[in-house]
C-alpha cells in the first residue's frame, strides 16, 4: 500500500536525520581540521585568522530544524517559549507549518515522523513475544485525561521555573540530543535513561503507554488536531466485526466500533489490515473528541 510505504519512508528519513545531520556536521568540521575530537591549534581557528565560511544548510532535529533558511519549530517548543516570555513573531512563524499540518491531520507527527517509533516498535515486539510465551505483560489504562494533565503540568512548571522544560521529558527531543551526543562526543548522557524507562513502560506496564499517557508533545498535537477533517471511516455494510483493526492499533483507537478520539495518529495501519477493505482514510466530519472516557470494548 502506497500510504504505508510513504509513511515508513518519512519515519525512516526522520530517524536517519538524527544521525546523518550531526555526522555530516562533524565530517565538515573535521575537514576543516576542527571538530570536538580533532587535535587542533585553536589560535589558527580564531576570528583573527578567519574560519572558512561554510553556512550550514541543515541544522538541528525535528525539535528545532533549519533547512536552507527556513525555520521549523516543534509546537511544544513554541508554546513553551510563548509562555516563558521568550516568544516572538519568529517563533509563531516557525511553528506554523506544524500547526497547519496538525489542524489537518491530527497527531500525524507521532505516526509519521516521531523518532521514538522504532523504540515503541521494539517494545511492542517484546510484548508480543512475552504474550506468546504465556507471560503477557499488563496493559495499564490510566485516566484518559492524564496526557493533558501532564502537558499542563510541564507548561506550568516551565512558567514557574523560568525555563523551557518540555525537551527534558519529550522523547523526540531527548532522542535528538542523545544521538547528537553519540555522534559528536562518542557517548550518550543521562537523558538516554529516560528513553530506557519509556521502553520499559511500553513493554511491561502499558502498550504504547508513553505515547498514550505521558508524552506532552502528543497531547499538544491532539489538542491542535481536534478538528481535523481527515479521519478513518468505516463502511458498515462491508465490516464483519472481526476486530483486526482494533488489534493492530497501538493507540487504543477502536475503528471497528467507530470509537475514535484525538489519539488517532492517521498511521493507516487499521486501514491496511482490514480483511474486508471496509476502512479508509478520508475527509469527513471531524472526530472532535479529545478523549473517550470508556475503556476499549
Amino acid at each position: 500500500m502506497l500510504y504505508q510505504w510513504l509513511r515508513r519512508s518519512c519515519l525512516a528519513l526522520s530517524c536517519a536525520a538524527l544521525y546523518v545531520v550531526p555526522a555530516w556536521h562533524l565530517a565538515r568540521l573535521r575537514g576543516n581540521g576542527a571538530g570536538p575530537a580533532a587535535g587542533s591549534n585553536w589560535a589558527d581557528l580564531a576570528v583573527s585568522a578567519g574560519v572558512p565560511e561554510m553556512a550550514p544548510g541543515i541544522v538541528g532535529t525535528p525539535w528545532s530544524f533549519r533547512i536552507f533558511g527556513i525555520e521549523l519549530l516543534d509546537p511544544l517548543a513554541g508554546v513553551s517559549l510563548l509562555l516563558t516570555g521568550g516568544g516572538a513573531s519568529a517563533i509563531l512563524i516557525a511553528i506554523l507549518p506544524w500547526v497547519i499540518l496538525a489542524a489537518l491531520l491530527g497527531r500525524f507527527f507521532c505516526g509519521w515522523l516521531c523518532p521514538y517509533v522504532p523504540v515503541l516498535a521494539a517494545a511492542n515486539g517484546l510484548r508480543a513475544l512475552l504474550r506468546r510465551l504465556g507471560a503477557g505483560p499488563p496493559d495499564l489504562q490510566p485516566d484518559r485525561a492524564t496526557p493533558f494533565v501532564l502537558l499542563g503540568c510541564i507548561l506550568l512548571l516551565s512558567v514557574a521555573g523560568g525555563a523551557v522544560l518540555a525537551p527534558l521529558v519529550y522523547p523526540p527531543a531527548i532522542l535528538g540530543r542523545q544521538l547528537f551526543s553519540a555522534v559528536f562526543y562518542g557517548g550518550v548522557g543521562a537523558g538516554s535513561a529516560v528513553i530506557v524507562l519509556a521502553f520499559l513502560i511500553d513493554t511491561f506496564i502499558s502498550r504504547a503507554g508513553v505515547c498514550r499517557w505521558l508524552c506532552p508533545g502528543g497531547a499538544l498535537f491532539r489538542l491542535l488536531g481536534i478538528a481535523s477533517p481527515v479521519r478513518v471511516r468505516r463502511d458498515r455494510e462491508a465490516c464483519d466485526d472481526c476486530g483486526t483493526c482494533d488489534e493492530v492499533c497501538s493507540l487504543a483507537q477502536s475503528p471497528m466500533t467507530d470509537g475514535l478520539d484525538s489519539g488517532c495518529e492517521r498511521c493507516g495501519k487499521c486501514v491496511a489490515s482490514c480483511p474486508q477493505v471496509a476502512l479508509r482514510l478520508a475527509a469527513g466530519k471531524p472526530i472532535a473528541v479529545l478523549f473517550r472516557r470508556e475503556p476499549l470494548p
Binding site: W42, L45, V47, A88, A145, L168, F180, G259, F291
Partner: protein, 199 residues
Amino acid sequence: MSDGGKRLPPITRRGLLVGGVALGGGVLSLISPPPAARLRPPGALDEPDFTRRCIRCLRCAEVCPPGAIRFATSFGMAGSDTPYIEARSRPCTLCMRCTQVCPSGALAPIDADRTVVGAKVRMGHPRLDRQKCIAWQESGECRACYYVCPYAGAAVRLDGRQLGPVFDREACVGCGQCEEACPEAALAITIDPRNGAPS
C-alpha cells in the same frame, strides 16, 4: 460519533494524583541547589533570560568548529542540557556560528567581525593568580596567554621584569584561549563566567 462528545476533561482523583506527583517532582528539581557557574557561549542573554529562551536543541553545539560547546544532563532541571563551555579543555574560537543558528534568541546573533566581537562579546572575565603565574613568579619566560589572545595588546599586555600578563577586565571577551594555553604546571588563569549559569 458513538460516545465522548465535546465535554471538557473532568478533574478526577487519579488525574489530580498524577498531576500532583509530576508537579511536586518538578518543583523539587527546580529548587535543587544551583551548581557552580559555567561559561555560556558568546551572545548569551543574561540569566535568567537565557534559560527562559533556551530550548535545549543543541544546534549551537552542532555548528561549533572546535567542539567547545558542551551540554550535560543534571538534576537541576532549569540548567539541564543547556550549552556551556569549559575553556580549560576547549576554548571558544569566536567564530559566532552558534549565535547565528540559535532558533530562539537565547544566543543573540553577532557578526563574525573582529571589531563587533570585541565590542559585544563578554562571556566572562579573566582572573590571574600571580602566585601561580610562571612569569610573575620569575621562574621563567612564558607569554603563552599573550600569544593566543585574539585581542592581545588590549585584553592582555605584558608588564614587569619577566613580562608577566596584565589583563584588562573590560576589553577581554572571555573566550578562554588563554586559560587553555596556560601551562599545566601553572594553571594561573580562570575565566569567571559573566552569567551565573547553572550547570
